[in-house]
Symmetry: C2
Subunit: 333 residues, 2 copies
């Protein structure tokens, strides 16, 4: 890797010191006289010495790399999350190794093996549902890990995220409070994500406040949301509001309404989930749930580093999220 081949022994030779001393200086170690330290640092700079990470990892049994497996980075919530993780790790001298694995458990397991095989010190996983083989492997190898983007108070495994069910329930209450009695919930593929299932369950839990409560499953992209809502607009139940489990689906809903000539919120109310950048710029501005993607990324990275460096135990952390009221939900009361 260090193609120019400047090794610690070269620095030692250059300064007339031993490799032990160079190592101590480079690692900010103790017990080196200021004068020696100066001499070493100068030599390092002169030779452009960069310690060989493999050698270091081999003897310390630490790679200073953290791995994350996420379902996609093409939705900006995930992108924001992963960007925050990367930045926070970077500030602390760690790197991020990333793998993208769809919800398929086998694929996730393979990704985890690959990342561990790259030397990752810890693993960040999305959601709560993972193959037993994976979890068992992590325990056996004593690899620290956290689940993210979700929350479960019964979980014995370290989880940092938000309560999807509760938030979906709150969103439904928000609609009910404003007089909506016929509501459709549009969500992504249930089979692919425990977070989607939580959101749906949370929404269903307050079903008794509604005359009609329908659930529609759509591909998790703008086209999916558009097609789904476009069809639902014809539904005889005549929904007054659409709760989209993702802002991306809500964007599709806007487009469906535009094509059908329905005005938001006068004719149809739409509510999102994520608070993506454009949600306050769209016309009308989207009422949505402000998921703490960035804060979650920072916290995940920070906690993992704290564990790795100081052994601070990884614990469950519940992040809160609020409804951002904007103009896309009509008050029918």
């Amino acid at each position: 890797m260090n193609k120019i081949g400047v090794s610690i022994r070269d620095v030692a030779r250059e300064t007339g010191l031993s490799t032990a001393t160079i190592s101590r200086v480079v690692n900010g170690g103790s017990k080196v006289s200021d004068e020696t330290r100066q001499r070493v640092l100068e030599a390092c700079a002169r030779l452009d010495y960069l310690p060989n990470p493999a050698a270091r990892a081999l003897s310390t049994r630490r790679s200073k790399a953290v791995a994350a497996i996420i379902p996609t980075i093409e939705h900006s919530v995930f992108a924001k999350f992963i960007a925050a993780v990367e930045r926070t790790l970077g500030e602390r001298g760690y790197s991020l190794i990333m793998a993208i694995a769809k919800a398929d458990e086998a694929e996730e397991l393979a990704a985890a093996r690959k990342l561990l095989g790259m030397g990752a010190d810890a693993l960040i996983l999305s959601g709560l549902d993972h193959s037993d083989l994976l979890l068992e492997m992590l325990e056996r190898r004593a690899v620290p890990y956290v689940f993210t983007s979700a929350w479960d108070d019964r979980s014995a495994r370290p989880t940092i995220g938000y309560d999807n069910a509760l938030l979906a329930e709150r969103a439904m209450q928000h609609l009910a409070d404003r007089g909506h009695r016929r509501v459709a919930v549009v969500h992504g593929p249930l089979a692919e994500s425990d977070r989607t299932r939580s959101r749906r369950a949370g929404a269903a839990s307050v079903g008794d406040r509604f005359e009609h409560l329908a659930f529609f499953e759509a591909p998790l992209d703008v086209a999916g949301g558009k097609a789904c809502v476009g069809a639902a607009l014809e539904d005889p139940r005549d929904f007054t509001a659409y709760l989209c489990s993702t802002d991306v689906l809500a964007l599709g809903a806007y487009f469906a309404c535009a094509e059908a000539g329905k005005r938001i919120p006068q004719d149809i109310s739409v509510m999102g989930f994520d608070n993506l950048d454009w949600s306050r710029d769209i016309v009308p501005p989207l009422t949505t749930i402000d998921l703490p993607a960035v804060g979650m990324g920072e916290m995940v990275a920070q906690r993992i580093v704290a564990y790795l460096e100081d052994g601070a135990p990884l614990q469950n952390e519940l992040l809160t999220a609020g409804i951002i009221e904007r103009g896309s939900v009509a008050d029918l009361t």
Copy 2:
């Protein structure tokens, strides 16, 4: 890293063979009898042996990790690109280490040092403009690298991308051909990106076909595009079309038009650049340029692996992109 401490010597002991033989089996090496191979593979599975990557990297001087420095992953072109890189590398047994660095050259240099200090075998950079210190360091260490998302036939450095200037020029010709004579170009911060500068230059090169050709610089997000176009709609030059150097800006333009009560394309034409997912779903569908983000990611990864494995030289590669005509540009002729 391998916390359970199953090393190659354990497998050797278990099978009664030497570490050399184990290594040969694990690396699909030659010269091992089928019977021995079976025995070793079984033992590996039984012990759940995972080779220590640091040790392997130390002796082979290869980490099988490729690093990428990108300005953001929060725009889906980059996200798509990086996802394609990750997938393609993964298929070939390589991992992706990622750093996000804004256009700041110092930040990019620091990121590169960090990634190389993590043992990256190669480096993927965005755009053509990079600090001399960085390039010098790469040459000195003989680190293979490629520039992406741009193209320059005069460049002696391996570049895989598309010709931003030419594409912008084509877009302008497209507008001119449809009778637009008063056009505004909305682009991101010039200081931050050579690609933005290329696009602007390309658009400017056909300025003589227009009565008015104005350039506006906006923050590279939906809010930026919306504010910028919102203001430009008041401009006395009365532009008939807006060329946005990014679909994200075009989305902002749509919202600005919606607020101002201007219809697209009847009152105002809008053209984008990227072909993001939603651009065919938006109402009206967006005429844009189909940037080959995924193809570029695949090619970059593939070429880098080919270089690393077989020494196939990294060369310039020009990718083509076409205009996708949809409904957002009026024909005034």
